[in-house]
Symmetry: C2
Subunit: 306 residues, 2 copies
Amino acid sequence: MLFEVKILGSCSATPVYNRHPSAQLLNIDQHFYLIDCGESTQFQLNRYKVKFNKIDHVFITHLHGDHYLGLIGLISSMHLHGRIKDLHLYGPPGLDEIIIVQMRYSETFLKYKINFHELNTEKRETIIDTSMLTVETIPLQHRIKCCGFLFREKPKKRRINKEMLPANILLQEIAKLKSGEDIFNEDGSLKYKNEAVTLPPKKSRSFAYCTDTIYTESFLHQITGIDLLYHESTFLKDLTLRAKETYHSTAEEAATIALKAGVEKLIIGHFSSRYKDLQPLLSEARETFPNTFLAIEGDTFSIPEE
Amino acid sequence: MLFEVKILGSCSATPVYNRHPSAQLLNIDQHFYLIDCGESTQFQLNRYKVKFNKIDHVFITHLHGDHYLGLIGLISSMHLHGRIKDLHLYGPPGLDEIIIVQMRYSETFLKYKINFHELNTEKRETIIDTSMLTVETIPLQHRIKCCGFLFREKPKKRRINKEMLPANILLQEIAKLKSGEDIFNEDGSLKYKNEAVTLPPKKSRSFAYCTDTIYTESFLHQITGIDLLYHESTFLKDLTLRAKETYHSTAEEAATIALKAGVEKLIIGHFSSRYKDLQPLLSEARETFPNTFLAIEGDTFSIPEE
């Protein structure tokens, strides 16, 4: 089963050097989650041959234009591509008003329904909870209401070790074994010791998307030990003051969060337009957290299942 | 003096084949007029190395997303690029509300002023009138309120024919000659016959931008004899019925307008996503109006001054 993040946009507010504003596509077993949707996201989806209507969930961190201005165009193109199934949209208060006013003036009547889930960006909330996955908000500290998102696969069942399994096992016994139970004979004696005939569950993978934010450890506990963290890194550390003033982070600060949270891998992005060359940002982050990568558009970060 | 139109976007509502939605940049002697501003226009301006803050006037035909969704991003980028001079924005009712609601939620306070000129799209109005230029609206017939724009240079002064001019001519005499007057001696006798010492004025050039619209001859009188007409051509004529239903035009219809209005040159654009190859649209139009060209992004159409 896939669990991978594709970078669609990597720049901060002023687009330069052919970089595009924030957008990432999370693919969990062919379920597609779009996180942020800066201007041109639909063009980036075209570029990477992603069919718009595979996306059923869109998450918007905050209402600065570089994080949502591509949304209206995408919603409209989904409609023109014949969408009829619901779209779930998660975002701060006001996003619905922004959409509605534009639909009203364009006299657009969508053939599908948008379920808008208004987020309280100031507290941690579970906004999706299925048998496979939870998605939680991560309160962030930016100039306006803003939250990140934590995607976490649910614990998986143990796997049957086919080599160890007798041929005459019953289906209901397999189900019990997958749930971690031992199997007993009618007289109460042990028939199959679970660990003897099963393998541990596959890994439950996790990804957190944290932008835009000033350096804050307030969400460290929430992302501790996750597999993949995207943390904004708008500036180099020589501009720490500028980062603080604008409620952004430096590469070193992103790496410090990754280190303190003990995550497996860090992606940095949301690069200021002052940096044509991104290597200094990468080098700075790697000094603190070596397993850091740049959010390069088109790159995909996969988390293996085991 | 330059008078040239650069194509920034050429597609209709669904962007495909790396085409972008409607936007054109008119450059009259280094005064820049942006006409429509579909999503990604700021990226297209970057691509063609146009500095955003050279643009002082933006014209929006109507509030379908493919004609204005790039505006908020451009307005924001102008701000981030340090703009302080006013921006003049011309568009249908509602455009101001769309901008204001988004500025409010992003808590953006622009360092420059937007002068919004609300258009009555149902009647011909002169919206700019300077010593050099007039801009008029062209009422169009689309599904929602929509108008085109006619840019026309003012009549120019006659030019002094330096070869014919005596060395001792007075400055005020030159001014009179440029205005077409003859020069008389104090005794009332003719000193300089205007036509003997001047050349005719340079050409006053004109460009009309007509999209989106169903085929209508209602504005023919307004664009008669102009140099350059951009007329939408969403479909081929085998889809005339579809064009009528959606209030768009075919290539043949665009060419018929150009022919009947006796314009010099026609550009067709706003191509439906069904046409990967645009040559059939060009061929169809050229059957009726040979001097037709495709709106290819990056192409520039110059009108010479003489």
